[in-house]
Symmetry: C2
Subunit: 163 residues, 2 copies
DNA sequence: TATTGTTATACTCTATAACTATA
DNA sequence: TATAGTTATAGAGTATAACAATA
């Protein structure tokens, strides 16, 4: 019934448009942009994330840091070695538990993070230029919810917590 | 002015919660899940994406395929070689332009994609389990807009096009 | 026994340059 | 001269397993 000026196509929904696929693609794309933007600063994306996280979170053990950054503890070692040699962070044994190495950002590291944050803001502002402020907030909130549920499935039902 | 039952904190906005950072993190997380889910099928994430895209888009040249999948043409060669050996796709020279290799999925490839799509749906359903249907649609639309603007900056102002 | 950090290794992915054959 | 595909290579990221020190 009604005029059928066009065949009723099943609304194909290509894989290209799946949220999972786009997430993977855009994640790599934004990482690439971070990389080239941070290159003049002398940091790669993982080093950037580690340093900023250390500024945000204060002194932490390597296990906790790795969990936050989604970097395996074994792979974190060399990364932190480099940053330590450059004087951007310090490692010391925790006297309370001598197995732990407490990692902390230095003042040189903090100074560098200021530059990093300005650069990151530029990258993101351009990357998300097709979205207005409200849309960016919506996106951030949705991604945050997904991130929390993947971190810890038990957190899903709890408080709005962090988002 | 007004009762201040709590100090007015500057709403820190940690880097961990930046859309760009979360995009990078979640992209790797979902890729990891695709990898382990597709392992029994015998495909890695890039092979998966290539095969599904070939089913969706039909016969295409390698340049176009690489652009869609965000895989450099030089890196695409070995990937397609493997899939061709396994009989999942075919390559033939374009008689119109003998430089081009036209890539097309085979019936064996199409059959495998059916299984891939079921598996992908499971992965995504779990990965985005903290979002309801409306929210998933919103997320997909926002990501799609971002994806289009990064593909081709000139497309931004045009029609709603593909989202 | 379990955990923290470490070392080592293999594999995947990414980036780049140079080559060939065609146009 | 430019483009499509190819080859080669180096670098970055990821995944695993085993180990020492400590709990």
């Amino acid at each position: 019934m009604g005029m059928s000026s066009s065949i009723d196509v099943p609304a194909k929904q290509e894989f290209k448009r799946h949220a999972g696929f786009m997430l993977a693609q855009l994640g790599r794309a934004v990482t690439r942009r971070y990389r080239s933007a941070m290159a003049p600063i002398g940091l790669n994306p993982r080093e950037t994330a580690a340093l900023v996280q250390l500024r945000d979170a204060g002194a932490v053990g390597q296990q906790a840091l790795g969990a936050t950054l989604d970097i395996d503890a074994s792979n974190l070692v060399a990364l932190l070695n480099d940053l330590e040699v450059e004087g951007l962070l310090s490692r010391r044994r925790d006297p309370e538990d001598r197995r732990r190495h407490v990692v902390e950002i230095t003042s040189a590291g903090t100074a560098l993070v200021d530059e990093v944050m300005r650069t990151a803001a530029q990258v993101e502002d351009q990357f998300f230029s097709s979205l207005d402020e409200d849309e960016r907030t919506t996106l951030r909130d949705l991604l945050c919810r997904v991130a929390q549920s993947t971190d810890d499935p038990s957190t899903t039902e709890v408080t709005g917590a962090d988002c």
